[in-house]
């Protein structure tokens, strides 16, 4: 029964990943990250993704502060933040997020403030979705590891 648990969890993970790929939320760069994970760096993916979350939340906060500023004039700063977010998003395979950044940047280049505000909302929404899904993925992975550990207890 425990064995089934592990298989089920693995199937759940694969289904979730397939969904995220199908939706265009993730691209093959995420697979590349998974490939880089091994015994010498067993938590690589979650480590990088957590750094990404931490940095992205700061960037999103900065973007919101910049845009909400009554004396707003800093399109250049917005561009810098967006470039950073775009870069790190594509580095972890967060394709859809990176695309929203591109659209956002276009709006900022056209000094289109309402467009920027809309793009920011979309970006925040996408970010939330990505974060939730990846947390779900990592939780499944943790459970799978536990299930595998119980099934194959260490030989004394």
């Amino acid at each position: 029964m425990l064995g089934l648990g592990e298989d089920r969890l693995r199937a759940d993970m694969n289904r979730l990943l397939a969904l995220l790929f199908h939706q265009g939320v993730l691209d093959e760069q995420f697979l590349q990250l998974q490939q880089l994970q091994d015994e010498s760096s067993p938590n690589f993916v979650s480590e990088v993704v957590n750094i990404y979350f931490h940095e992205s939340e700061k960037l999103l906060m900065n973007l919101r502060t910049l845009l909400m500023d009554k004396e707003f004039s800093g399109y250049k700063k917005i561009g810098i933040h967006l470039n950073q977010m775009m870069g790190s998003s594509s580095s972890i395979g967060a394709k859809r997020l990176a695309n929203v950044c591109v659209a956002f940047r276009t709006a900022s280049q056209l000094n289109n403030r309402p467009g920027c505000l809309r793009a920011l909302e979309l970006l925040e929404h996408e970010y939330c979705y990505l974060k939730n899904k990846l947390h779900e993925l990592f939780q499944l992975e943790q459970q799978r590891i536990l299930a595998a550990g119980v099934r194959y207890p260490r030989q004394m």
Binding site: I51, E55, G87, S91
Partner: protein, 221 residues
């Protein structure tokens, strides 16, 4: 794998085995990823967050001693293009201006596939321009290039491969490496080989077995 002559070779370090790569990127995420990519490809990595730090590490910032550099010679520099303060392009220029370090291959990474940017970097002596995200296959290819030292043919061939794959139709109809000036191929050859000036560095060893030539400015057939 002696690429520069003036450096103290620590007898403890076996330089034939592992490349030492200096990675420069202001993004923590990207530093993590490039570090893993390189370690996975059996390279030693030193990752720094800015061009200034990179120069400090190399000992090019005017300071007399750079402890890090004495310990482990750098075989390859991979730098992001867009960084606050000193850009990757500016770092590239500083390295190529230095007699001690100009032979170290420098690879530029960028999330933007901009022709003008690519041309500018190649003209300044960058070995290759890689569009992010960097993959394991990119690192493996780079490593092979440097170890084999097949020089221009290999580097240019790989560069074309990479560019053709990632070309985003910025310039439809033009070849990946458009000629900068109408030089004949033989003249370009002379330019490329003379730009290395191996005699400028007082190398005690005979001519290095591995050599990296600067990419030709011309796209020759």
């Amino acid at each position: 794998m002696a690429m520069t002559g003036e450096i103290y070779h620590s007898p403890m370090v076996c330089q034939e085995e592992e490349l030492h790569v200096l990675a420069v990127d202001d993004s923590f995420v990207d530093r993590k990823v490039i570090e893993r990519l390189l370690k996975r490809s059996s390279c030693k990595v030193t990752a720094v967050e800015s061009g200034t730090r990179a120069l400090q590490y190399l000992g090019l910032d005017g300071e007399k001693s750079s402890v890090g550099y004495d310990a482990l010679k750098v075989n390859l520099i991979m730098t992001d293009y867009s960084m606050p303060g000193m850009t990757g392009y500016e770092l590239l220029k500083k390295i190529k201006e230095s007699s001690a370090f100009r032979e170290i291959p420098v690879v530029i990474m960028s999330s933007e596939n901009i022709m003008a940017r690519i041309d500018r970097c190649l003209e300044e002596g960058a070995e290759e321009f890689i569009v992010k995200p960097v993959k394991l296959s990119d690192v493996k290819r780079l490593k092979d290039c440097i170890i084999k030292g097949d020089g221009e043919e290999n580097v240019k061939k790989n560069l074309n491969k990479r560019k053709l794959r990632d070309e985003e139709d910025d310039h439809p109809g033009s070849s990946p490496l458009t000629p900068v000036s109408p030089l004949s191929p033989s003249m370009a050859c002379d330019l490329a080989s003379s730009s290395r000036s191996p005699s400028s560095s007082p190398s005690p060893a005979p001519a290095p077995a591995v050599s990296i030539k600067r990419p030709k400015l011309l796209h020759s057939s």
